[in-house]
Symmetry: C2
Subunit: 91 residues, 2 copies
């Protein structure tokens, strides 16, 4: 899998991320990874599910990994732990 | 795995769910499933990560499944789709 086939989930509407994945698959990608941290994790799962159930029934969830990342606050310099998820989708 | 070894994630503080899992494992469970829907999915991942990283390093994430559930609104009768997650933890 190329490192470019990754969709990072942020605060945009969920359909933006569904379309981003769809575009990658239509451009020939066989695997796309959805990555998210913190509250965006629910949006990551939503994106994967909408993609599979509404747009591409041939896309499968191949692997899901969860982890903890350390995030440093730019202002206070304090580090905090935030959960992350990686959903590997494959055609 | 017994059906009782399931922790449903809701809107309580995340430590409630971490402690619920911890108690199940200490009472002899070898597998605990964390289930959540919608926005609670991030809390489910947080619970699993806090449990593993802070309290029980011997607990492993064995399997993660995502799915879509249909939820019916009691007032309007309209059905809507909501994403769900199941995190299977094992000792």
């Amino acid at each position: 899998m190329s490192a470019t086939n990754t969709v990072f989930i942020g605060k945009k509407p969920v359909m933006n991320y569904v379309l981003a994945c769809l575009t990658l698959f239509q451009n020939g990608a066989t695997e796309v990874t959805i990555k998210a941290r913190g509250k965006a994790i629910s949006t990551a799962v939503d994106s994967a599910e909408i993609l599979r159930k509404k747009f591409s029934p041939d896309v499968q969830v191949k692997e899901i990994k969860i982890d903890t990342e350390q995030v440093k606050d730019g202002e206070t310099g304090a580090t905090s732990n935030v959960s992350s998820i990686e959903i590997l989708l494959a055609k």
